[in-house]
Amino acid sequence: SPQDFSSKDKPIASPSVRRRAWELGLDLTQVRPSGSGGRIMHADLEGCAPQPRVLAGPIA
């Protein structure tokens, strides 16, 4: 199932930040969050270097 119940281990980032990160080829675990509660904000993505990133495996 694509539901991600274990997301507690994931960086805190909204859908649009996540989307922008993958467009930029960024790994969110490598981005330093500036938002309250450790949230990664759009501005945090600026100037980050893209990392080689693998798409996750099969989800279904």
Partner: protein, 492 residues
């Protein structure tokens, strides 16, 4: 070989997955053909699923509501129910929506080819033309060439092999035909679909039995949510048979005789005017000759995909019920958009679109029973099973002014926050559930909170209007945070 038609993107199946993918791809500039065996677009959801069931459930909910209104000073007598007219209402709702889909397909210049589609190879589908209300084949055939394809063939109800062929034994599609109102109805399978249909028939006058192999109804939801539903609905049921298998059935003039066997070996029997099989749905993956295109299909008929909804053949995608659980329309639609975007991105050379992926953290579930039961993300049962430490905020609707004003204070709203040491007491929300009227309309806020990574302060400090049922979400967050003043103080 030569093809009769050609397109950038072929979409096989016009359910919520298929039409959403086709429309999105067309909007992005692709030439799209949709192949659908039935006359109406919309698939299971619009024609024999989500929509007709809710049209009937709404009427049932109002009827149930009215039956309590006498206590409040407004006395309606017993209603006269015209089942034909009720069925007509349901049909009107469906055709309004399917008519809308057909019109929108036209506006988008999406070509709809009516017929049964099967892959011939990795770039061709053969369509056996169908006509009429169902899927009768005319004998005519067409070949369509595609650059990319999306398989959105959906699923169908599982049929128990030992049940006899009899018009008093139906699946959800048969039940939605609403041929009459049975006195005594058996629901095989205590999942959402069976319980929704049971609600409708029981409000129309049927007494219900339900038989379920597992140890509780409405699996997937936390037991505390289900308990509230069950208490409110106990009066509909004569027997709730848990941990029990249906082992045989015979059609007799008096009714369908059904045999049960408990996991503990006890045997029993019942006689029913209507038997609804609602034991699950099976994907249609094996019915499209996917192997001819090189697409792998699992033994159970599912098609595996990656986060971009690609099958093992990179230019062929699959979405919706055919790719796996949860089999829900809103999952299909979101997957559809991803597949369409990736396909368009590849075809049009748009790198950002081509990177699209399905990345929602959570997919909400709703049982549109009365009360509704809705949940999203982590459940308490899962937290326990997975050893995830959570802080719970639970707001009982007995303290909700609106629920009391509505005479419906049986519900509650519950939120679960990350309580791991790393969260330092500010953990973000991981899941939530609501049981009560309008639960399904409000669970979206909890889904948004999860996607945004909100914590209890974020939600609790968001001002929700008073007096609403929706404010129970803010209150539940305050409970987790320890700042709720609409409940008794927590013991220190």
């Amino acid at each position: 070989g030569s093809a009769d038609l050609s397109c950038d993107l072929l979409v096989l199946g016009a359910g919520p997955g298929g039409y959403s993918a086709a429309f999105r791809a067309a909007d992005l500039g692709l030439k799209v053909i949709v192949v659908e065996r039935y006359a109406a677009l919309g698939g299971v959801c619009l024609n024999v699923g989500c929509i007709p069931s809710k049209a009937l459930l709404h009427v049932a909910a109002v009827m149930d509501e009215v039956s309590h209104l006498g206590d409040l000073g407004v006395d309606f007598g017993a209603p006269s129910v015209n089942v034909d007219k009720l069925r007509g209402h349901k049909e009107k709702v469906i055709s309004k929506l399917t008519g809308g889909l057909a019109a929108m397909a036209k506006m988008r210049k999406v070509t709809v080819v009516r017929g049964y589609g099967s892959f011939i190879d990795a770039h061709h589908v053969e369509v056996e033309e169908t006509s009429g209300e169902a899927q009768a084949k005319t004998g005519a055939k067409k070949t369509i060439h595609f650059s990319q394809a999306i398989i959105a063939a959906g699923s169908q109800a599982v049929r128990l092999p030992f049940l006899p062929q009899d018009e008093r034994i139906v699946d959800s599609t048969g039940a939605l035909e609403l041929k009459g109102t049975p006195k005594k109805m058996l629901i095989i399978g205590g999942g959402i679909i069976g319980l929704e249909m049971g609600t409708v028939y029981s409000t129309l006058g049927a007494r219900l039995d339900v038989v379920e192999m597992l140890d509780g109804l409405m699996q997937g939801a936390d037991r505390d949510l289900v308990k509230v539903w069950q208490k409110m609905n106990a009066k509909r049921f004569d027997n709730i048979m848990l941990k029990t298998k249906t082992v045989g059935a015979t059609a007799t003039p008096e009714g369908i005789k059904v045999q049960f066997e408990g996991l503990d070996g006890t045997k029993s029997e019942g006689l029913y005017d209507l038997v609804l099989q609602a034991v699950g749905r099976t994907p249609n993956g094996k019915k499209v000759a996917a192997e001819k295109a090189g697409v792998a299909v699992t033994d159970r008929g599912f098609i595996n995909v990656d986060v971009q909804m690609r099958t093992n053949v990179p230019h062929i995608f699959a979405i919706g019920d055919v790719v796996g659980q949860p089999m829900l329309a809103h999952k299909a639609v979101h997957e559809a958009h991803v597949a369409a975007e990736v396909a368009a991105g590849v075809q049009l050379g748009d790198a950002n679109l081509a990177k699209s992926q399905f990345d929602a953290r959570v997919i909400p579930s709703v049982a549109y029973t009365d009360p509704e039961v809705a949940w999203v993300g982590l459940t308490e049962d899962q937290a326990k099973a997975q050893g995830i430490k959570v802080k719970k905020g639970l707001f009982p609707w007995t303290a909700s002014g609106r629920a009391i004003a509505n005479g419906r204070d049986e519900g509650f709203t519950k939120l679960l926050f990350d309580d791991s040491p790393e969260a330092h007491g500010h953990g973000k929300i991981l899941g939530g559930g609501i049981v009560g009227t309008h639960a399904g309309d409000m669970i979206g806020e909890i889904a948004l909170a999860i996607e945004m990574g909100a914590n209890a302060v974020d939600i609790g400090k968001t001002i929700h209007p008073h007096p609403t049922l929706g404010e129970s979400i803010g209150m539940a967050a305050e409970v987790a945070h320890g700042s709720c003043t609409d409940l008794p103080p927590t013991r220190k």
